[in-house]
Subunit: 247 residues, 4 copies
């Protein structure tokens, strides 16, 4: 898995602070921007987050590159709808010789790992065999090389039905800070599935480097004592989590 | 594949027509609703669609049950973000003995079909073997039956990495009419992938039964002569499509 | 102010319960729907809301008619973006003789009420005078009656710049249950502006009539003891609110 | 009116091009980014826009400061829902001595302009008088200066019901490029209301300075010959528009 922060709104905290200030001020926008030095920016961002006034944090967005993650992760991450995704297509890009994610729990059982690796090898072989059978049928009698190239895509379109969830994909993902807060809330939680939790934690580290005040309170709600379910959803109390070194 | 229309806003066309009328009228809402008989409803809906005034059609939404479709389809359909989805979870529901979608092109090549069916059998076996190995490890020394049940879920969470795209899923999906128009525009197109195109065409039939005027112009843009790309994206002209019996 | 529930997804609680059930069940959709009797529906909806699993409640939406509310209210309510609006247009509908909202606090001070009513009279007069001056200029030398009708619209388009916030409007508004929960959370709060709070409370009453279990916990967060700010945002503690008869 | 581009995703066209490229490429994200020089970026962006493949342009967003615009404009611009707004509040900021927008058509008729300016003067006076009457009532017997300051806000909350549409406001607005395309499509149209059309045209100039290829085809659809209504919605044919110097 590789997660990088490709791009983001410049000066994210100052932008958020100015937008928030504007709501309550008679000053001009230039005037507001000028007054937003580091200290007043930090103060304003902290005030905002403390009050739960969330809309100004939408003005800044963050673009990530995410690679080497499974199609299972893709199914989960694309459920976040206030987000923009560009994803490597299994219709257009051949998966011959595909890489795959191995769950650590499977890697930890030698017998399971053998089954797993053998299965992936078989999936790749059958993917290739099906691609060839389909391609041969489609190109029977076709001479034109351009058309053949297109028909190869048509062949992989159906061959991909054998590809497993483990097969890796890559994507470029953009979310604004408000949507990210919601994402971290759900996906840094200790009950989230392990792979998306790793991605979410890495994304959180990356945005904290460029906007430490803005994302200070983001992440698993229990870590700031705010898991809002009667019992914590992981089935532990906060003291129990502390004792286990989870907080 | 099974697609059903579970529920929808009652009297969808009258609701849309009244909302549109309201924008340009000084009458009360009751007054507007009363005047919306069948003929004036149809006239108003046609006028709206003709003008491209799309926002009033958002007021009506349609809820579908979709079953027996592949996880590939799921990956595509969930990219539509102005929509609500509830999807059967591979983390919570065991896929042992899973059903799978067979692409017609694969079914049409006996050798390919054998490879395909064998592969699915193998995937099911390996899924079950991995589930057992993980479950046995997790439950080693555990007595509590409730906890064991939870640990079975933890086992399938990782075993599912071998499940193929072909594996079926089911979902409940809600979209409003405006989002549906966009969906049909992209997914009834002759270049859309075959499975989602089948689902989209079936959905379109179902909504036309309850809102024929509203959805009269929905579907593949070429069918109403409006494919807006310089060359039709399927590489054919409209006359060519007609000749091939595609229109 | 008049708020009516024009339409909604039929059997809203059963639909929500079935969608939620689907996520964790291997049964068919028909099978799930059949089992959703009143008791199991109620149980499932309560479980959902208790867990904070919000997405299934998106499947049901509610369409309201709202009349006799101010343009100030319009400015606030249209900030809710997961919603569909059709609003009477000040560009297309003449506001001559417009009705207006009078804030109760102004109505309670006779001197203020006189100023207020006089001002509204003046606004109407100036609106009409400006409309005529613009219309006369635009139609100078124009004979065609159809064109003149269009030019009257062009005249009111600019005359409306004198119309006050108090001027009433009407709209048709659709929100799904999840967006409504958020709406009630913010707009039923005791710190919300009085007019939108009245509208929100009335909307809540209306949806509770058709979906009492689903909306049991909706409304001002303090009323269910959940105002999540360090100090309650209205500056009172829950006991203080009780004492004042506010809870 | 003053419109400024406060901030935007750095290297917007390169970001869009890389996201688009990713969908069809087996290369790593680093590899894709490196290859995106100026020429290949331009080529990719042009190809995208030509195909109508819109999702990759969502990855870049633009933040504007907009000042000196009317509350009428606010009502229109906030109807765009795939956007983030922070707006000066009439509940928290006093409008005493408010500035206002004068429609050019009104400014062009001396008699109308007199009526208009007098009306605005009267609105300001009545706003101030109502504020004082309400404030005096609320603060009767109140000593605490902090509480008095709060009660002044409560006073302006109701006094603002007399404020006209012409009253200026200011806002910070963020949209991604896809939402901007839709915005320009509707609001640069010759039938759009004059004030929002000015704002939209100015915004378009500003984004073209930093992303000329990306926004080359944005704006009034007729200007690129694509107004998609049977008759052009402004009632003129393209040649007629040309003749009038409108194209």
């Amino acid at each position: 898995m590789k997660v990088t922060l490709i791009s983001h709104t410049p000066n994210p905290e100052q932008t958020v602070a100015a937008a928030a200030r504007l709501c309550y001020s008679a000053a001009t926008i230039d005037g507001i921007m000028e007054k937003m030095d580091e200290a007043s920016t930090r103060r304003m961002v902290n005030m905002l987050l403390g009050m739960g006034h969330e809309s100004p944090i939408e003005h800044v967005s963050f673009t990530f590159g995410i690679e080497g993650v499974s199609r299972s992760l893709l199914a989960q991450i694309t459920r976040h709808r206030i987000a923009s995704f560009s994803v490597q297509s299994q219709r257009y890009v051949s998966e011959s010789g595909f890489e795959y994610v191995t769950p650590p729990e499977i890697a930890g059982i030698p017998e399971a790992l053998d089954i797993y690796d053998d299965f992936m090898k078989r999936a790749d072989e059958d993917y290739n065999r099906l691609t060839e059978l389909l391609y041969n049928k489609y190109t029977d009698g076709v001479e034109d090389e351009g058309r053949k190239k297109q028909l190869r895509k048509k062949a992989i379109e159906d061959a991909r039905f054998v590809l497993p969830n483990a097969c890796t994909t890559k994507m470029i993902l953009t979310m604004n800070a408000r949507s990210l807060y919601n994402f971290f809330d759900h996906r840094c939680c200790y009950r989230a599935q392990w792979e998306i939790r790793q991605v979410a934690n890495r994304m959180l580290e990356l945005v904290r480097e460029v906007a430490p005040t803005l994302f200070a309170g983001a992440g698993a709600p229990c870590e700031s004592g705010q898991c809002n379910q009667g019992k914590m959803s992981c089935g532990m109390t906060i003291p129990q989590r502390r004792e286990k070194g989870l907080l």
